[in-house]
């Protein structure tokens, strides 16, 4: 029997297409490129970690994705998580907010506060973060199409609460290019969307230099069907597109690259993921150094949130998702993630219960307190297998990036729907493989049990919360200075039409209590709306 084959005769090839051997030795490391890109933790090219001491100095930030109903409901859950030892917040917004619609918009009917917190005006943000120390707890906003508005709102809220915006830390997802591939909360066409991301990065570089205005997400590209190497390669192409947009405006790379961050997926083969992250750190450092000429080490750091992997979890035997989540957390810790957010075991059914969120939090705390994951940096470093695979994964990512560049670049490939068609074809193949049992999913196509409805506590959707939200918006509209709103919205329109950075005008509008929907409408009046290319052929 060929030793590269499984007992059933099928070759062992990881999802990124790399054949896996039964044994690795130093000869394999040497043949794959040796230790040329290894270095030491905290030193270029950062394969082993971006800091010399990593978790020895400070464990990863724990940041479970949370938000539902209105701002007051979410504020209570935030406080519950902080009381249970969570060290950061990761805010879920409802779909109307994410799509730039107010809670009283007809298109928002039935969706207000359903999958996240409803935000219409600055008033809601004041309630959502009431009593939370924004210097101690960093906040990540999962917002994309409406990101410029929500970033403006967050900065305005923090300023009014008396926090120095210059020193304010936190993150916005604000990665619109991946929204066109997966997740789908786009608003504006591709080009103005890219411009708005540029506006936020440029604005924050000056006004909120500690704030991370973008978290580039391989995560959702992977969820949409990409393999792990494509996930990371496409994310780097997208991050480069944002960097190019800001550099075009004359902002030096070292003034903003250090505030770009990343969000990656974790499900799949353990060693492939660890190698992916180690390879990615070196590749991103190389891109920022070689292509963009950055000098500051911080500009070259691939800072990341990891731990989630919704597509890896199953509806069947949901308690197995607790075990999967624990492995995902372990992979993230072995990979040097800065921040972790785990998917909760009940997420295939519902918005996580308090209990499910606490289990996820405790899962991370177990690794920190009981398992020794914080003692030593890059504990898998030096494994013949992991080092060989790290070199091979980096090679594969380089090949994919070169291919994207040869085809005219990521922005064009996304605008035409080409990447979407490619990953969707892969998702289809994956589903066929699962249905046929070629790709094993425990509880799905093997080790099934007869299940009655599993014991999952469904999160109630409360129509009354939605009504409260609509009433609050009406109240804000009644009490605010209408002429200030009209004037600031006019300025938003003018700055968009004139090609200026729109952020100062958006910040002023937010402070006048203009709503998410009103500011979005002012911008779509100039930029138009995205029209989705529907195609199935790459």
């Amino acid at each position: 029997m060929n030793d590269r084959l499984r007992p059933d005769g099928n070759p062992v090839i990881n999802e990124s297409g790399i054949p896996i051997q039964p044994l690795y030795t130093e000869a394999d490391v040497a043949a794959s490129g040796g230790n040329a890109m290894l270095g030491r933790p905290g030193e270029y090219p950062f394969t082993r970690g971006i800091h010399p001491l990593m978790y020895r100095k400070q464990p990863w930030t724990m940041r479970q994705y949370t938000g539902f109903g209105n701002a007051a409901d979410t504020n209570a859950r935030f406080k519950y998580l902080i009381a249970n030892g969570q060290t950061g917040l990761n805010v879920a917004f409802d779909l109307p907010t994410q799509c730039g619609l107010d809670s009283d918009d007809p298109l928002a009917d039935g969706e207000v506060g359903r999958v996240g917190m409803a935000i219409d005006t600055l008033r809601d943000f004041e309630i959502a973060f009431e009593g939370i120390d924004l210097d101690r707890i960093t906040v990540s906003l999962t917002i994309n199409g409406a990101a410029a508005i929500l970033i403006a709102m967050y900065l305005a809220m923090a300023e009014r609460r008396g926090f120095a915006v210059k020193g304010l830390r936190g993150t916005a997802q604000n990665d619109i290019l991946k929204e066109f591939i997966g997740r789908g909360t786009w608003v504006f066409p591709v080009e103005p969307s890219l411009k708005l991301v540029g506006d936020t990065i440029e604005y924050c570089a000056t006004h909120a230099p500690k704030y991370s205005p973008v978290s580039v997400c391989g995560y959702h590209i992977r969820e949409s069907g990409a393999n792990p190497a494509q996930e990371m390669a496409y994310a780097f192409c997208i991050a480069s597109a944002y960097a190019d947009e800001v550099l075009r405006r004359g902002v030096p790379i070292d003034e903003f690259a250090g505030r770009l961050s990343f969000n990656f997926n974790i499900f799949g083969n353990l060693f492939e993921q660890v190698a992916k992250f180690r390879a990615g750190r070196a590749l991103w450092a190389q891109i920022v150094h070689d292509r963009y000429g950055a000098q500051k080490p911080g500009s070259m750091w691939m800072r990341m949130i990891a731990g989630g992997g919704g597509s890896g979890l199953t509806l069947e035997q949901p308690e197995l998702n607790i075990v999967r989540g624990a492995y995902y957390a372990l992979i993230s810790a072995l990979s040097g993630a800065q921040t972790m957010a785990l998917c909760c075991y009940d997420e295939a059914y519902t918005i996580p219960s308090e209990h499910a969120q606490r289990i996820s939090l405790r899962t991370m705390q177990l690794l920190i307190e009981e398992m020794g994951l914080c003692d030593t940096v890059d504990p898998l470093g030096g494994s013949y297998y992991v080092e060989t695979l790290t070199n091979q994964m980096r090679g594969e990512m380089e090949r994919i990036i070169a291919d994207v560049d040869a085809r005219g670049g990521i922005v064009g490939l996304i605008a035409s729907g080409s990447i979407q068609a490619q990953v969707s074809a892969q998702a289809y193949q994956r589903q066929l493989d699962i249905d046929a049992g070629r790709l094993r999913k425990v509880g799905v196509n093997c080790y099934r049990v007869d299940e009655d409805d599993p014991q999952v506590e469904f999160h109630p959707y409360n129509e009354a919360d939605a009504m409260t939200q609509v009433a609050r918006l009406a109240e804000v509209r009644r009490r605010r200075d209408a002429s200030a709103v009209a004037r600031t919205l006019d300025d938003v329109r003018r700055s968009a039409a004139g090609g200026a950075n729109t952020m100062p005008a958006i910040v002023a509008a937010v402070k006048a209590y203009a709503s998410v929907g009103e500011i979005t409408a002012a911008l779509t009046g100039v930029f138009g709306r995205y029209r989705e290319p529907v195609r199935f052929e790459e």
Partner: protein, 135 residues
């Protein structure tokens, strides 16, 4: 009608209702239906009930299929039902897939959705159901 005797392929409009942006599953199902020989009109995201009813009527489809992942399926289907009936499409096959808790299945059936395919449904089962039940 049996698929072997039909004059034209089964025609399906596959729609993403409301603001939900999760389209991986819808696109996977679209590919499976096409591979089974059906003609699929995939609407893309953010469809209103009015838009779905209009496309279904204009294209004279055999099947109206929805994919909903974000929990607003019941309210949406309640708004869609009278529009489909008004358009004379109540003799067509209505199916829905996605994140559909079991406690909602009865209500969806009562609204006229004959095929309900929650997360984890096999592609073969979806295509076979449509082939068996479309007019």
């Amino acid at each position: 009608m049996n698929s072997t005797t039909r004059a034209r392929p089964i025609k399906v409009v596959l729609a993403k209702p409301g603001l939900d942006g999760h389209d991986q599953g819808a696109k996977v199902v679209a590919r499976a239906l096409m591979a089974a020989g059906m003609e699929v009109i995939y609407t893309g995201l953010r469809q209103t009930p009015e838009a779905i009813a209009q496309i279904a009527r204009e294209e004279d489809v055999d099947v109206i299929a929805l994919s909903s992942m974000a929990g607003s399926h019941l309210g949406f289907c309640r708004r869609l039902k009278p529009l489909l009936e008004e358009a004379g499409l109540d003799d067509r096959l209505w199916v829905i897939g996605g994140n559909l808790p079991r406690q909602d299945h009865e209500a969806l059936r009562a609204l006229g959705f004959k095929g309900i395919f929650p997360t984890g449904a096999r592609l073969d089962d979806i295509t076979a159901f449509i082939q068996r039940n479309s007019r």
